[in-house]
C-alpha cells in the first residue's frame, strides 16, 4: 500500500504566528490570483484583438509610429498553462497548510479539507462573477487526473495478498457492484412511482435511467478509498479487500454504464442485450488486463537495454503505462484494469533491470503525481459543487443516500456468508463492518454523471445533486468517523514489521512443502499452479526480460541483496560509528555486481606467480591501507560534513575494492600457507575485520616469521601505539565503535605531517613495532605510497612525485 508518509509528518507545534500569517497571505494571494486571470482573460483579449486590427488597418493606410512598448501585458499568450500551474500550486500549498495546523489532520481526513477548500474557491470564483472552468469534465479528469493515481496503486500493489484474496475481491467487485446497481436502481424507481396521488416530476423517471443512476452511484471509488484508508492504517487484509474491490469494479461500472446509456433511449433492454452485456463485461475486463500486460512486458523488455542510458529509465515506465491506459480507453476497455495489470506485470522485471536511482525516481514521481492529482480532484469536486446547476429534490436525494448505505450493508453481509464457505481465514463481523463502511463514493461517480447528456436525460441535474450528496456524505461522515470506529472496534492494525530474511526463507519453504503435499495427493490446487507459474517464469520469462546476470538470480538472493544494500546505506548515513552487524555483507553484494560463474565446486586455486616476500608485504600494506583508507573515508563523511549524497556510486566502488582486497588476501594466504590465526578460519569475516583492526599481528607477520618469531597475535588486540617521537598513528578498529569526531581530529594532525594529503585521508599502517622493524617502515611506507597512488581512484595529482617534500612549503 503506498503510504504517502511524506505528507504526514507531525505538525510542528511551535509554528510561529508570523509563519502562519505568511502562509495565509500566500494562500489568499493565490486564490486571488486564480480568480483574477479568469476575469482578466476576457478584457485584454478583446482589446488586444482590437489593437491588432487597428494597427493593421492603420498600417495599410499610413504608418503611424507608436512608442515602442517597453512593458506589455499579454495574458492571453500564456493563459492556459498559467491557470493550470496556479491550480496545481494552490492544491500543493493547501496540502502544506493543513499539516501546519496542529490538530486538524488527526481529526479530519485530508479529503474533507480539500473539498472544503474547493468549495471556498468555487464560491470565490462565482462571487467574482466568472465562469468556473468545467474541470471535472471527461477529458481532464479521465485522461490526466485519474491515471497517475491508478498507476501508483498498481505499481505498488502488494501482489501476494492480492492474489491470495483474489476470489473474495472479485466477488465483492463484480457481484457486489451488480447487486448495488440493481438494488438501488430498482428501489429508486419503485419509490419514484409510489406517489400516485401527487404526481411529481419523479414520475417521469423511467426504469432505465434509474438503473443507470444506480450503476453510477454504486461503484466504490479508488481515489476516495485510498485517501481515507491511508490514514487509518488498518491491517493488510481489509485494506487489500476494499482497495482491490474499488479497482476491479471499474469493468463492471463501464459495462453497466454503457449498456444503460445506450438503451435508455430505446427504452427497453432485452435478454439478448443482457447476454451481450455479460460478454461485453468479459471482453472489457479481460481485454483491459491483456492490454496492460502487453504493455507491461514491453516495458520490461525495453528496460533490459537501458543500462547505458539510465537517465530515461523512469520515462519508459511512465509513458508505456500511460499508453496502456490510453489504448484501453480507445477500445472502451477498462483503462483502470489495464493500468493495474501493466504496473503489476512490469514491476518485478523492471526493478531487476533499473538502477537504484531510477527506482527512487519512479517511486517519488508516482507519489508526487498521484498526490497532486488526488488533491486536485477533491478541490475540483468542491468547485464543481458550487458551480453546477443543482436541482434538489428531497425525496430523491434522501432515498438515494439511505439506499446506498442499506444496499452496501446487505451486499457485504450476504456476500460474506457465501464467501466464508470458501475461505479458510474467515471474515469476521468486524471485518464486514469495515468493508461495508469503507465503501466510499468519489469523483468517478461524479464525472460519469457529468458525462450524461442533458437531452437524453432531463433529470441530469437531479442526478448530479444526488451524486454529490452521496459523495459528500461518504467522504465527510464516513471518512471522519471511520478512524474512531476502527479504534473503538479494535480492528487489527497494520503491522509495521519489515520483511525479515527468515520470513522469506520460511515462506518459500512452506510454498515448496505445500506444493509437495499437493503433488502427493494428486490435487492440483492453488500451490501447484503457483509453482508451475514460478517455474515458467524462471525458465523462460526472466531470461527474456531481465538483463544480464540478474536473470538467474533467485528471489531469495535478490531480497538479501536489497536488504544488505539498505543496511549498508543506513550504516553510511549514520556516520559509520556502528559495528558491521553481520558477516561480510559486501561479499554477498559483490557477488551480484560481479557475478561469478556458478560452479558449485570449490574454486580452484590458481597458481599465482611466485612472489618475493618483500612484494608480498607491499601488497599487504596496500591492501590494508586502502581498505582502511576507504573505511576512513566512510567515517569522516557523516551527516554533518556531507553535502551531497555520493554514496550511490561511491559505495559500490567501495564494495568492489573491498571485495578485491579480500579475495586477493585470501589467495595470498592460501598460497603462502601462513598460519595467521589461532581460532577462526583465515578467511572468516571476523578475521578479516580483526586483521584490519589490530594492525599488529598479521601486518608484519612476514617480518616476524622471518625471524622465527612465534608470536601468534591476539587478533582482537587493540593496541595503543607509543607515539612519542613519531607521527601519531591512527588505529582504525572496525570491530569497535569509534566516534567519528575523534577520528577526524586525529586525521587533522596526521594530515599536517603527511605529504600525500590529497590522497584523501590516508592511514599509515600502525607501527607500534619493536625497533628492528622501524627501518623497514620507511621504505615500506614509500613503496606503499607509490602503490596507493596507483591504486587510489580519484587520481592524485601527478606532480606530487617528491615524497619528501614537506606539506607546508
Amino acid at each position: 500500500m503506498p503510504s504517502r508518509t511524506g505528507s504526514h509528518s507531525p505538525a510542528g507545534t511551535g509554528k510561529s504566528l508570523p509563519e502562519r500569517g505568511l502562509l495565509l497571505l500566500m494562500v489568499l494571494v493565490l486564490l486571488e490570483g486564480s480568480v483574477l486571470p479568469l476575469g482578466a482573460a476576457s478584457s485584454p483579449d478583446i482589446s488586444h484583438q482590437k489593437n491588432v486590427d487597428n494597427h493593421k488597418v492603420e498600417h495599410e493606410k499610413n504608418y503611424t509610429k507608436k512608442a515602442f512598448p517597453v512593458l506589455d501585458l499579454d495574458y492571453h499568450h500564456i493563459q492556459t498553462p498559467f491557470e493550470i500551474s496556479l491550480w496545481v500550486l494552490l492544491a500543493s500549498v493547501m496540502k502544506l497548510g493543513f499539516h501546519m495546523i496542529p490538530r486538524l489532520p488527526g481529526i479530519v481526513p485530508e479529503s474533507c479539507l480539500l473539498i472544503t477548500v474547493g468549495l471556498l474557491v468555487g464560491g470565490l470564483i462565482k462571487l467574482a462573477g466568472e465562469k468556473v472552468p468545467p474541470v471535472l469534465d471527461s477529458q481532464l479528469f479521465f485522461l490526466c487526473l485519474l491515471p497517475p493515481i491508478i498507476l501508483d496503486a498498481g505499481y505498488f500493489l502488494p501482489i501476494r495478498p492480492f492474489m491470495e484474496n483474489l476470489g473474495t475481491i472479485l466477488m465483492f467487485a463484480v457481484v457486489g457492484t451488480l447487486w448495488n446497481a440493481f438494488f438501488i436502481g430498482g428501489l429508486l424507481y419503485a419509490v419514484c412511482q409510489i406517489q400516485p396521488a401527487n404526481p411529481s416530476e419523479l414520475h417521469q423517471l423511467e426504469i432505465l435511467p434509474c438503473l443507470l443512476f444506480g450503476s453510477i452511484i454504486s461503484a466504490v471509488d479508488p481515489v476516495a478509498v485510498l485517501a481515507v484508508f491511508e490514514e487509518i492504517h488498518i491491517n493488510e487484509l481489509l485494506h487489500i479487500l476494499v482497495f482491490g474491490e474499488s479497482l476491479l469494479n471499474d469493468a463492471v461500472t463501464v459495462v453497466l454504464y454503457h449498456l444503460f446509456e445506450e438503451y435508455s433511449a430505446a427504452g427497453t433492454v432485452t435478454v439478448l442485450d443482457g447476454f451481450l452485456g455479460i460478454i461485453s463485461f468479459l471482453v472489457v475486463s479481460l481485454g483491459g488486463i491483456l492490454v496492460g500486460a502487453i504493455y507491461g512486458i514491453l516495458t520490461a523488455f525495453t528496460s533490459r537495454f537501458t543500462s547505458h542510458t539510465r537517465v530515461i529509465e523512469p520515462l519508459f515506465v511512465f509513458v508505456y503505462s500511460y499508453m496502456a491506459y490510453l489504448s484501453a480507453e480507445m477500445f472502451h476497455l477498462s483503462g483502470i484494469m489495464a493500468l493495474i495489470a501493466c504496473g503489476a506485470v512490469m514491476r518485478p522485471y523492471v526493478e531487476a533491470n533499473i538502477s537504484h536511482k531510477s527506482h527512487t525516481t519512479i517511486k517519488y514521481f508516482l507519489k508526487m503525481w498521484s498526490s497532486v492529482s488526488e488533491t486536485l480532484i477533491f478541490i475540483f469536486l468542491g468547485v464543481a459543487t458550487v458551480d453546477g446547476p443543482h436541482h434538489w429534490n428531497w425525496t430523491f436525494v434522501t432515498v438515494t443516500v439511505i439506499l446506498c448505505l442499506v444496499s452496501r450493508v446487505i451486499g457485504v453481509v450476504g456476500l460474506t456468508c457465501v464467501i466464508n464457505k470458501f475461505r479458510i481465514v474467515k471474515l469476521t463481523t468486524k471485518d464486514q463492518f469495515i468493508v461495508a463502511y469503507g465503501g466510499m463514493r468519489g469523483a468517478i461517480a461524479f464525472s460519469l454523471g457529468f458525462l450524461l447528456k442533458k437531452e437524453q436525460f432531463p433529470m441530469r441535474e437531479m442526478f448530479l445533486t444526488a451524486i454529490i450528496t452521496v459523495i459528500f456524505f461518504t467522504v465527510f461522515v464516513q471518512g471522519m468517523t471511520i478512524k474512531p470506529l476502527v479504534e473503538l472496534l479494535a480492528v487489527k492494525k497494520k503491522q509495521e514489521a519489515k520483511r525479515s530474511i527468515n520470513e522469506e526463507i520460511h515462506t518459500q519453504f512452506l510454498d515448496h512443502l505445500l506444493t509437495g503435499i499437493e503433488d502427493i495427493c494428486g490435487h492440483y490446487g492453488h500451490h501447484h499452479w503457483k509453482d508451475k507459474l514460478n517455474r515458467f517464469n524462471k525458465k523462460y520469462v526472466k531470461k527474456c526480460l531481465i538483463a544480464g546476470e540478474r536473470s538467474k538470480e533467485p528471489q531469495l538472493i535478490a531480497f538479501y541483496h536489497k536488504m544488505e544494500m539498505k543496511q549498508a546505506i543506513d550504516l553510511v548515513e549514520s556516520g559509520g560509528g556502528v559495528n558491521l552487524p553481520s558477516a561480510v555483507p559486501s561479499t554477498v553484494s559483490m557477488q551480484n555486481i560481479q557475478p561469478k560463474k556458478p560452479p558449485p565446486a570449490k574454486p580452484v586455486e590458481k597458481a599465482l606467480p611466485k612472489m618475493t616476500k618483500g612484494r608480498e608485504e607491499e601488497i599487504r600494506q596496500i591492501l590494508r591501507s586502502n581498505l582502511q583508507k576507504t573505511r576512513q573515508r566512510l567515517r569522516s563523511y557523516n551527516r554533518h560534513t556531507l553535502v551531497a549524497d555520493p554514496y550511490e556510486d561511491g559505495f559500490s566502488e567501495l564494495l568492489i575494492k573491498k571485495q578485491k582486497m579480500i579475495e586477493l588476501e585470501k589467495k595470498i594466504q592460501h598460497m603462502n600457507n601462513y598460519l595467521t590465526v589461532p581460532a577462526a578460519p583465515p578467511d572468516s569475516p571476523t578475521m578479516c575485520r580483526a586483521r584490519l583492526a589490530s594492525g599488529r599481528g598479521t601486518d608484519f607477520k612476514p617480518a616476524q616469521q622471518q625471524r622465527g618469531n612465534k608470536i601468534s597475535p591476539d587478533p582482537q588486540a587493540y593496541s595503543s601505539k607509543p607515539a612519542a617521537d613519531r607521527v601519531p598513528t591512527i588505529q582504525v578498529d572496525l570491530a569497535s565503535p569509534q566516534s567519528p569526531d575523534s577520528v577526524n581530529l586525529m586525521d587533522e594532525f596526521r594530515r599536517a605531517d603527511q605529504q600525500e594529503e590529497d590522497q584523501g585521508l590516508m592511514m599509515k599502517p600502525p607501527s607500534g613495532q619493536s625497533g628492528p622493524n622501524r627501518p623497514r617502515e620507511e621504505d615500506r611506507g614509500r613503496e606503499q605510497q607509490k602503490m596507493t597512488r596507483c591504486l587510489s581512484d580519484p587520481g592524485p595529482s601527478a606532480d606530487e612525485e617528491e615524497e619528501d617534500e614537506p606539506f607546508l612549503p
Binding site: I424, E503, E504, H512, G525, L556
Partner: protein
C-alpha cells in the same frame, strides 16, 4: 481438506498399495515431487526414523496435519492436541528443517535447506552469509541454532501463521 478424494488419488498413484505399505520409491514415482527442491525431505517426513515403510494409518496421520486449523473448537485438557492444531503444524514444518531431530536447527541444517532451495545457483559464501543473518535474527539465546521456540517467535513466522492456517491439504 484431505477427504476421501485425496486419499483415493494417492491410492491410484501407488501400485504397491495392495501390499499395504508404501516405500520411498513409490513417492519417488510422483514426477512433480522429484522436481520439488525439498521433495525428498517431505518424503522422509512420512517415514518414522528407522522405518523403511509407512503404513496407511501413519500416512493419513501425517496428512492430517494439513487439515485446516479449527480455532473455534473448544479444547479441554483431556483431549490430546489435535493433529491439525497450529503448534503441531509448526512442529511439522520445524522437523522438516531439523533432520537429525535434535530439537534445534543448526547452521549446517539451515545451510542444507538453503542449498536445496536455491539449487546451486549461488555461491557458498552467499549461502553462508544468508544463513548467518537468518540465525542472527532468530537466535535469542545465542546458541547459534534455532530452537522450536525461537522458530515460533521469529517475526516472520507470525505472518506465516496466517499461511499455516490456510493450509488446505
Amino acid at each position: 481438506a484431505v477427504g476421501p478424494k485425496g486419499i483415493f488419488r494417492v491410492i491410484e498413484r501407488s501400485e504397491q498399495w495392495s501390499v499395504g505399505e508404501l516405500e520411498p520409491e513409490d513417492f519417488g514415482a510422483i514426477r512433480e515431487l522429484s522436481m520439488n527442491p525439498i521433495g525428498d525431505r517431505i518424503i522422509s517426513a512420512f517415514f518414522s526414523p528407522g522405518k523403511e515403510t509407512v503404513d496407511f494409518a501413519s500416512f493419513v496421520r501425517i496428512l492430517a496435519h494439513f487439515h485446516p486449523t479449527e480455532t473455534s473448537r473448544s479444547r479441554d485438557g483431556v483431549q490430546p492436541e489435535p493433529a491439525n492444531s497450529r503448534t503441531r503444524k509448526l512442529k511439522f514444518a520445524f522437523q522438516l528443517y531439523d533432520q537429525d531431530r535434535d530439537g534445534k536447527i543448526s547452521r549446517e541444517e539451515l545451510l542444507q535447506v538453503l542449498r536445496t532451495m536455491l539449487e546451486m545457483q549461488v555461491t557458498e559464501e552467499q549461502l553462508q552469509s544468508i544463513a548467518e543473518r537468518a540465525i542472527q535474527e532468530a537466535d535469542l539465546d545465542q546458541d547459534d541454532a534455532i530452537s522450536f521456540d525461537e522458530f515460533r517467535k521469529v517475526r516472520g513466522v507470525d505472518l506465516i501463521r496466517d499461511q499455516i492456517d490456510n493450509w488446505e491439504y
